[in-house]
Symmetry: C2
Subunit: 290 residues, 2 copies
């Protein structure tokens, strides 16, 4: 192989489980011909209820494994790890690291600006919006909300966010109840509580990679509550951001995907295919020593 | 200290989280004057959806830490670890190891025998009952049900069990919704499905240390379904079994308790006190390398 031949890009995608497969799904058509290594740290999931220290430790050991696969870029396709471990990862890794928070926030801010403009809200100094009543509602895990990462990220774009922890939504999605009366009732409780606290929101940002599977149900519930919102999920926004920062030219080679999990491969394959939108044929079980 | 002085018993109690504190709560009055070391492996919880191999690995590293505290006996106060790692633990540890499955089953079998006798069901060979329609309904996590540990344990006592996985009950208890309409609806779904499959059950065995907090709600739901059951939780049964096998005589020293967690101490203290029934003052954060 000649040394002038361009190496095709190798991209690492990391999540605590299979939710991040929605990000990989968005990446595949955007960066075709790349080699992908997806790691789901299923033995230690969920990250959403754990502490910053523990989440950072888990994320670093997962990233170390992906580095051994010679990745050129790491996509942290997990909101909790993006919220709590992105700085540690960026500091420790010699390659670009991209999380889901900033891309998701940017997309939500664009949607919000459009809505506010449509409503005739004058655009003053952007700081004014940040100190105004919240315009973006973020649904996320307890750990993500506690980190206030979305609030800071929105404030940096001059917007105010209201973050609502929804600990039951991940278990409900994993139970397969994505279109179930119980999930509707739980969503109605979480959304009603959030809208009572932040009645001025116009955009809903799904701050967890499990939640896109609930999008139809959330839309229906918001319509019932007579408070429709523009729903943004960060998977597509993150994939676009990754494509922008990857300097390697597109490759003509067929896409290659490798999947790794730290626990039960059977469950990863069964549930993961719903998130990826295609079957997961080969998953390798790895041990991160946890 | 003279060598003839009797050492007071030191008891290790292990769970993936704080659910096992219901077992410790039952132990305290039964074996007073003992020294207790309770470890909640909160960084790696929940065990309930993970594989046998992973659960055994987690349980062994937790047990190794407790051995370093010089315990005389290990109580595995976690149904999932009891179902999937008890053999590994018993083989690896030089001290008695007691799980929650056998004591819980024994208590459920006694209640069932009493009910069946009261109903005039003739006691033939005990094998007859095991091959008859199920008389014990076990609610548990997915991993516990998949292990079929309760089915085997009941069969050994000549009884047939029907096991029902209830993945949403732990998150609902951790959300604090122990008396909430959503939890009632979820319990009604799980119980209706189980009773449709196993209409002859007379005893309900709570096969997860989180479930005792749902006992009033489950009793109410069963009454609504017009199918009252004798509810058994294994915490008390396990504590009695531990007291029976501990050869050390009772000590007059005041009880000493040490608590360790592998993740966020704040959450352990806040939620754990509901399970222990008293405040958890001092919790030490430890790192099992996971």
């Amino acid at each position: 192989m000649s040394s002038t031949q361009t190496k095709r890009p190798t991209i690492g995608v990391f999540d605590s489980g299979f939710g991040g497969l929605t990000v990989l799904r968005a990446l595949l058509p955007l960066i075709p011909g790349a080699e992908y290594h997806y790691l789901g740290d299923t033995a230690r999931l969920p990250y959403g209820a754990k502490s910053q220290q523990t989440i950072a430790r888990y994320a670093l050991s997962s990233a170390a494994f992906l580095l051994e696969q010679r990745i050129d870029m790491l996509v942290v396709a997990c909101n909790t790890a993006s919220a709590l471990a992105l700085e540690d990862l960026t500091r420790a890794l010699p390659i670009p690291v991209i999380g889901v928070i900033a891309p998701g926030t940017t997309a939500a801010a664009a949607a919000t600006a459009k809505t506010l403009k449509g409503m005739g809200v004058p655009r003053l100094a952007s700081e004014t919006w940040a100190s105004s009543p919240a315009s973006i509602l973020v649904l996320a895990t307890a750990a993500t909300v506690q980190s206030a990462a979305y609030t800071r990220s929105c404030a940096a774009l001059g917007l105010a966010a209201y973050e609502k922890a929804c600990p039951l939504l991940v278990p409900l999605v994993e139970e397969g109840w994505t279109d179930h009366p119980v999930t509707e009732q739980v969503a109605r409780i979480y959304l009603s509580e959030a809208l009572a606290e932040a009645p001025t929101v116009t955009t809903l940002l799904l701050g967890c990679t499990h939640y896109p599977l609930l999008k139809p149900l959330l839309e229906r519930t918001l319509a019932d509550l007579n408070h429709p919102l523009h729903i943004i999920d960060s998977a597509a926004a993150t994939a676009h951001a990754a494509a922008r920062i990857l300097s390697a030219p597109p490759s003509n080679l067929p896409v290659t995907t490798h999947f790794y999990a730290t626990d039960s491969i059977e469950k990863f394959q069964r549930l993961g295919s719903n998130f990826l939108g295609q079957p997961l044929d080969q998953v390798t079980l790895i041990d991160l020593g946890g």
